[in-house]
Amino acid sequence: MIKAAIALNRFGLGARGDQPPPPDPVNWLIQQLTAFDPRPDSIANAPTSATVAAGLADYFRQQRAMRMELARRAPTPAAAPMAAMTVPLQPPGTPGIAAAKPEKPARDDAMKQARQFAQRTNRADYAGAVAARATNALVTDTPFVERLVYFWANHFAVSADKLTVIGLAGTLEFEAIRPHVLGTFRDMLLAVEQHPAMLLYLDQAVSVGPGSPLGQRIAARGNRKVGLNENLAREILELHTLGVRTGYTQADVTEFARAMTGWTVAGIGQGPGARAAGTDGMPGDFVFAAALHEPGDRTIMGKLYPAGGVEQARAVLQDVSIAPATATHVMTKLARHFAGDTPPPALVARLQKAFLESGGDLPTVYRALIASPEVWVERPLKFKTPWEWTISSMRALNLKTADGQAMVGLLNQLGQPTWKPGQPIGYDDIAASWAGPDAVLRRVEAAERFASRAATIDARALAPKVLPGSVSPATQTALANCESPAQALALLLVAPEFLRR
């Protein structure tokens, strides 16, 4: 690949068929660091966490009212048998949005209908967010920064599996990643860990300090079902910042979980802490609920964090955001995203240095990346993910809008449902995870469908535009020999040089 092709494909989201290649590829990337718009039209019109949370709050309120009404009408309800419906046990990446929580017994049709309505609404919000993300990807003039947004959103992954996360998943990217993609790592980390999607996805919103005012009240009543949930605290250290096996212990995780108690969401939390959280703010707002917070000093990785309410965990996040282990972990991932599945140690070291010396200033890191020879290697270094392949195909075909439901279905079929990796570690960023036999066959099937709708485009003329200076003689011959324009287009989209970047 020549430099223009590398800038367009490895750094960007693929060339648009109707745009000339950048004359100065390096400057084209650098100027994007100032031209980026965190809130372009399509994103600005997408559902927000406030609107999604308001809908969820209405739903929970309605459920509570109906439950009370039912209890009033039937004072001695017979124990209903478990509903016979089976929620499928889904392998990761299978189509459809599974209800992660089992259904309660269907005691009343109205409650069931309300739940179905809530699911439909949240799936519609999810599809709307996918449409916004895809449409923006098709028309953006700053595709390099958009790629960085996807990188960070996957680093701070939530998964649209449970009802409360389905509609909120995309809003985390729009509200916590986009505004900080050109800021500091610390600010992005703080925004993510205070976002309702993350607080609900990793159960932080239901964690209660056993020694907190609420925890003690419940303990005094003899109810044992309240206490710490260490899920988010562990994943912050393991996945978001320091990285696994970097020296923290189980005791550090538990201490951090104690410090994090009280970090919750207004209006849409559940469990005994919900009322304590719901007194302030609009549904979906981050709140610090002192009633849930474990009092006292905490010692985490040898450092004392004095009691201080919301500031206690914030101080921990501030420290880990600029820790050397975090720089190693996060910069290795960034290097892997651009320089290949096994990133060169010299590149990782250079990015680490830029990260630590700048206190986690992300544009400084990106400039160091662009200036590194390891990311300008001519042979392709990465196998495109399904999202990357889909967006680059649609950009090549000059498409300018994307339909939410169609995108959701397509990405499901290609094996990378958007914002739904099924695990908090996000999607893998290595070829072995995407270059499967069946996965390639599906791209061929999808390419034929794409091409059937764009048959006026001549693939022989398009190829050098989207892969400037980089189309192999074998591909040129194969395109020239095709029986129809549509077939040639399909073949171009699955050509070896188009599957990689």
């Binding site: 089976t86 046990l89 096996r245 099924g422 070896p496």
Partner: protein, 382 residues
Amino acid sequence: MYDRRAFLGAGVAGAVFAALGPRLAFAKAETDKRFVFIIQRGAADGLGIVAPVGDPAFAGARGDLALDFASAPKLDALFALHPAMARVQALYGAKQALFAHAVASPYRDRSHFDGQNVLESGGTGAYQLKDGWMNRLLGVLPPTEAKAIAVSATVPLALRGARDVSSYAPSNLPQASDDLLQRVSMLYAGDSQLHALWSEAMGTRALTGDLAAGGGANAAATGALAARLMAPANGARIAMIETGGWDTHTGQRGRLSTQLKGLDAMIGALQSGLGPLWADTMVLVATEFGRTVAVNGTGGTDHGTASSAMLLGGAVRGGRVLADWPGLAPTALFEGRDLRPTLQLDAFIGGAVAGHFGVEPAKAMAALFPSSKGTAVVAGLV
């Protein structure tokens, strides 16, 4: 109650005995053996699946999570199976289901991703080995049996490695035209990575026919699909199915029950789909690690250590729970919170696979779990 005999037999005597046993004669011969690994990603709670209801500390430690076992049929004096697994319970009655408990891989931390890496690679630490133990298994089998498939769009780590492995999952996309497929074959001929992937894809496509239209989103359909891929004489002999949703930090009681219903349906569909071949089939169900003994503050359990595993199928000497039970009393727990491991998952898998395919146990261990190759397998599983 505890199958200690099999344990003791797993020592030197066991290895020698197995090596001299009649199965050795078939080691190089073609057989009809089928092997399926169902991985439970997310740390499945062994204590909530095969519950030690006879342990005096169980009911106290488990609170509400113990309630599901009030009416569950007992497996033996100590254990009961979760009532959602009716088909597996029936297999146990027919001596075609064996459970191992307090079992763990060599991994002793609590990261899902490192734990799954160890479980699938067969190393003793995360990222020590680049390929998976199922791929290395193919190397010790006769070529006719060394055919494996992942019932998913991509190949999971356990099956990745030097030997070619196929993958398949039903697609709702319209099938591409044959002419385009041929042109893609030609275009990929010069690209070694894509050529290998494409050859596998085309081979599998020929095998499944119109199955792609079937959907297959739920567990039973996935089990039936795996059976369809394995039943033909030229089909896969070895398959892997991935299941998720086991990370029950909250509301475990309902969620685990739903999960187990799905798993039970998947196993039932495998059994009925394989028909007479079920007699020569072994299904392994295992997870990366277990969950805490105590219930957390949100009706769930957090990451733990030892869990349970299952062997199912006509080839299994079942109707037993294999456990050197460490107990659930607070002083008996690993690091004061988890079920203490007393059985090595590597030795259990090594024994199961060696016995099933008639491979010499030491050779199987060296290939599958090279870092534990001196370890004797658990004998007498088949």
